[in-house]
């Protein structure tokens, strides 16, 4: 199930809310766990055991780690930590990477092991990372052990952030998991955040997505230079609004339920370096890799050589985390390379350049990175890049003009929306007048109503010919 669907908004969510708020405090984790399982199982009931086993294994490992640490038996504690990590990595590898690994082994050794062809279970990339954060933090003594299986299950399967993050480290919400307060103010702010996220997804991301879709479906021979740039602009805006919208909806829902999830995006397209970009984009994943890979490997404390190795390790992992194919590996290496270069000398140059120049520099490199990201096939990606920078071929065609002028308003809204400008302006005027608070609610309702309209429209499917 996805948030941006009639099914979620008008069936699942109201039903869940009624149960959640009607039941007394101590049953709420149970309600949350149960509904999360329904949410998870809706599309693929066959995988329901997966999340249950995952919950069970990490719950038991966490308890064992804690018990052994109390007995000062670090070896046994370490053993259970290893079990947990191997289990999670193993599960992720099997479900996400087995086809990719076997395909490569096959082509490398010229054999043909049949592909298992397993479907990727939703959210697996997120909840395996979350459960690992739990056992690792318990081992490190940074988090308390969870002695209630239902509460732990609610954490692992929590539907607000199950499918698209943020990656909530256990420590962040450990306290709220056992003792959280609900407030009308939080709920109301959470609702606003959720609706704005819904609007970002349904009204902006989906529509900008259509621009990218029509450009990427152009046969590569007839793609023009301007078309290629428009396509990448659209893709960059789509992926930002899509992804950050999911985070907004998750954070908003979390607030309503009494959880505070970490922020995941902070106007990344305003960044003035790639280093800054990655501090503003998918923050929770960056934090995860920093805490559990980069720093344990020594971070920057073991000399520049080692630091560079650590950066590349993190970025290759970040790359494949996004998808099981070579273009994501390359995409990760691309960013690793840029980050190392910035660390060594580019940042010093950027410091001396005017703001605008550093923003252009960052956006340019990010847009190029989206070409790698959006093309599974490297050949197609390279061809696309060549079209972008080939100013001798056809520059512009009617189709591109049509897409541009008919989507101009949406593209403009998205560009403005990806800066902090609207929020900055809003905060300014909001402080000045009472009338604006009415406007805010009016605006929120408009976003909700139009998002509903766009969602209903997706199902409009006129069948034009009789008996056909």
């Amino acid at each position: 199930m996805v948030f941006s669907s009639i099914l979620f908004l008008f069936y699942f969510l109201p039903l869940f809310m009624v149960f959640y708020f009607v039941f007394p405090d101590k049953y709420r984790n149970g309600v949350l766990f149960l509904f999360s399982i329904i949410f998870y199982a809706w599309g693929e009931p066959g995988y329901i055991w997966l999340i249950l086993i995952s919950t069970f294994v990490d719950y038991v490992c966490g308890k064992e780690i804690h018990k052994n640490l109390l007995k000062n038996d670090r070896i046994s504690a370490r053993y259970f930590l290893l079990v947990s990590i191997l289990f999670n990595i193993g599960m992720l590898s099997f479900f996400k990477y087995s086809d990719f690994i076997i395909t490569n082994i096959n082509s490398l050794m010229d054999i043909s092991i049949p592909l298992p062809g397993v479907a990727l279970p939703i959210g697996i990339s997120f909840y395996t990372f979350q459960t690992m954060s739990y056992t690792i933090d318990v081992y490190r003594g940074e988090a308390k052990v969870q002695n209630n299986a239902v509460s732990f299950g609610a954490y692992v399967s929590m539907f607000p952030q199950l499918i698209a993050g943020p990656v909530v480290r256990y420590g962040t919400i450990a306290r709220e998991l056992t003792d959280r307060s609900l407030s009308l103010m939080d709920a109301s702010n959470g609702v606003r955040r959720f609706i704005l996220g819904l609007g970002k997804k349904v009204l902006l991301a989906n529509n900008i997505g259509l621009v990218w879709e029509s450009i990427s479906s152009t046969s590569s021979g007839s793609l023009t230079t301007a078309g290629a740039w428009l396509g990448m602009l659209a893709f960059g805006l789509q992926i930002y609004f899509d992804f950050s919208a999911y985070s907004d909806m998750a954070i908003g829902l979390g607030k309503v339920l009494g959880f505070s999830f970490p922020e995941n995006f902070n106007y990344p397209y305003m960044s003035r370096s790639i280093t800054e970009f990655w501090r503003r984009w998918h923050i929770s994943l960056g934090v995860w890799f920093r805490e559990y890979v980069y720093i344990p490997m020594g971070g920057n404390r073991k000399g520049l050589g080692r630091q560079i190795l650590n950066i590349f390790t993190v970025w290759i992992l970040t790359g494949v985390w996004h998808g099981a194919s070579w273009n994501f590996v390359l995409w990760g290496i691309y960013f690793g390379l840029l980050l190392v270069m910035e660390k060594v000398w580019v940042l010093r140059i950027l410091d001396r350049l005017p703001k605008l120049a550093t923003r252009v520099y960052t956006l340019f490199l990010v847009i190029v990175s989206w070409v790698l990201f959006s093309h599974d096939s490297l050949i197609e990606g390279v061809y696309y890049l060549r079209t972008m920078f080939d100013f001798s071929g056809p520059l512009l065609d009617g189709g591109t003009i049509y897409i541009f002028y008919t989507n101009f308003a949406i593209i403009l809204a998205a560009i403005i929306g990806s800066t902090h400008f609207p929020k900055w302006t809003w905060d300014k005027i909001q402080n000045s007048e009472g009338l604006w608070s009415i406007m805010e609610n009016v605006f929120t309702m408009i976003v909700l109503v139009f998002s509903t309209a766009f969602l209903v429209d997706q199902s409009y499917n006129p069948f034009l010919y009789f008996r056909f």
């Binding site: 669907s5 009639i6 099914l7 908004l9 008008f10 069936y11 969510l13 109201p14 809706w42 599309g43 693929e44 009931p45 066959g46 009308l184 103010m185 709920a187 109301s188 702010n189 609702v191 606003r192 609706i195 259509l210 479906s217 009617g398 189709g399 003009i401 049509y402 002028y405 008919t406 989507n407 101009f408 308003a409 949406i410 608070s437 009415i438 805010e440 609610n441 929120t444 309702m445 909700l448 109503v449 139009f450 509903t452 309209a453 766009f454 969602l455 209903v456 429209d457 997706q458 199902s459 409009y460 499917n461 006129p462 069948f463 034009l464 010919y465 009789f466 008996r467 056909f468």
Partner: protein, 374 residues
């Protein structure tokens, strides 16, 4: 205060819609979409675990959404307000013209259909039956001046050129594009439907006389009747929002010739090719012949003695009435609805001539002509 109001408004909206969901009775058929809607799926353990229940329920949740048409109209209105010229299904053209947004051509389908036409032509040549092909261009191709500026449409000349090229001298391939384009300031296509008007069909008829060997009648030989002025066609249904005036529908009734009898798929069905009851329905274009049928066999009082078999689609339903004067027997065959074998049918009817007259889009998007080679 602001927070309370927000929470109340949003909760009210959600609860209201959810309650309406429960209260508004389900509809089993949508007239605007012309399809059956998903009803509440029956719950079963097996369906649950196969994912079938989830899928049906998902479709049910949108198909039965309260005031569904209103929401869809609202979405399209939002598109138009944000300066879009299409809503993904329909272009909102100039002078209130609506056009379908067509996907790019699939060459496999086109080449496949052309192959079937060539096979068909071969078999007709063997039995020395005359054969001609007429391609009816789509509204987008003829009225391209009324499309939104730069709106991309597939290039239909590809179909005509390929077919012409492959036909060699064996049969004539006639393109109506230029004939109709010359009339593009006249009312030759409906604004809200993809079909041509009777006037458009008349123009094609006048032109085809010299190509197919008959003397076309003048306007005065027909009695012009307006049968509807509230026609909202198939493209309107796709758009679901229209700010112009509805189309008018006219017919040209031949005053010289009469129909002796009509057989539809072998059964006698009177002498009238016009089905008035459809004028009250949403599908007004089916006024002509009551829509598409497998085989419509018409005998007329024409003294020409000629017999013509037309492989046709819905465009011909408003075109064939003009031909009644020139053929003693007219057999309309719709390849999409033909049950039996084409070769048997030709054998049985033994026409003097065969005419294949199809809209380019029907050749481009579905493998409908396989039946010709059977």
């Amino acid at each position: 205060m602001k927070d309370k109001i927000r929470l109340t408004l949003v909760s009210l909206f959600m609860v209201l819609v959810s309650i309406l969901n429960l209260l508004v009775p389900s509809k089993s058929f949508s007239n605007t979409e012309n399809r059956y809607l998903q009803l509440l799926p029956e719950f079963g353990i097996e369906e649950l675990f196969s994912g079938e229940y989830a899928e049906s329920f998902q479709i049910y949740s949108t198909d039965q959404f309260p005031f569904r048409d209103f929401w869809i109209r609202l979405k399209t209105a939002a598109d138009l307000v944000t300066l879009k010229k299409d809503n993904g299904r329909v272009y909102f053209g100039k002078d209130d013209f609506l056009f379908e947004v067509e996907p790019p051509f699939n060459l496999d389908i086109i080449m496949g259909n052309i192959g079937y036409i060539l096979e068909f032509a071969d078999s007709l040549e063997e039995r020395e039956t005359g054969f001609n092909v007429v391609l009816i261009p789509s509204k987008e191709a003829v009225l391209d001046g009324f499309l939104p500026d730069y709106a991309p449409v597939p290039d239909e000349s590809l179909i005509f050129d390929t077919l012409k090229d492959k036909s060699g001298e064996a049969f004539k391939v006639i393109n109506l594009l230029n004939v109709l384009k010359n009339e593009d300031d006249e009312y030759i296509y409906y604004k809200t439907d993809h079909h041509w008007t009777s006037y458009g069909a008349y123009k094609a008829y006048s032109f085809l006389g010299s190509e197919l060997g008959f003397e076309p009648l003048g306007m005065n030989d027909f009695k012009k009747l307006q049968v509807a002025n509230d026609f909202l066609g198939a493209v309107y249904r796709k758009a679901n929002l229209y700010t112009g005036t509805p189309d008018t529908m006219e017919v040209y009734k031949n005053i010289h010739v009469e129909i002796l009898e009509i057989k539809i798929d072998g059964a006698f069905s009177g002498k009238d090719i016009y089905y008035g009851e459809y004028l009250d329905s949403i599908d007004k274009y089916s006024y002509f012949f009551g829509g598409d049928h497998g085989v419509v066999d018409i005998e007329t009082t024409s003294d020409s003695g000629k017999e013509l078999l037309i492989v046709k689609d819905s465009f011909s339903n408003s075109f064939v009435p003009f031909l009644l004067e020139h053929y003693s027997r007219l057999v309309m065959v719709d390849p999409r609805h033909l049950g039996g074998d084409m070769s048997e049918l030709i054998e049985e009817i033994n026409p003097d001539e065969v005419l294949l007259m199809l809209n380019t889009e029907n050749i481009a998007y579905s493998r409908i002509l396989g039946v010709l080679a059977r």
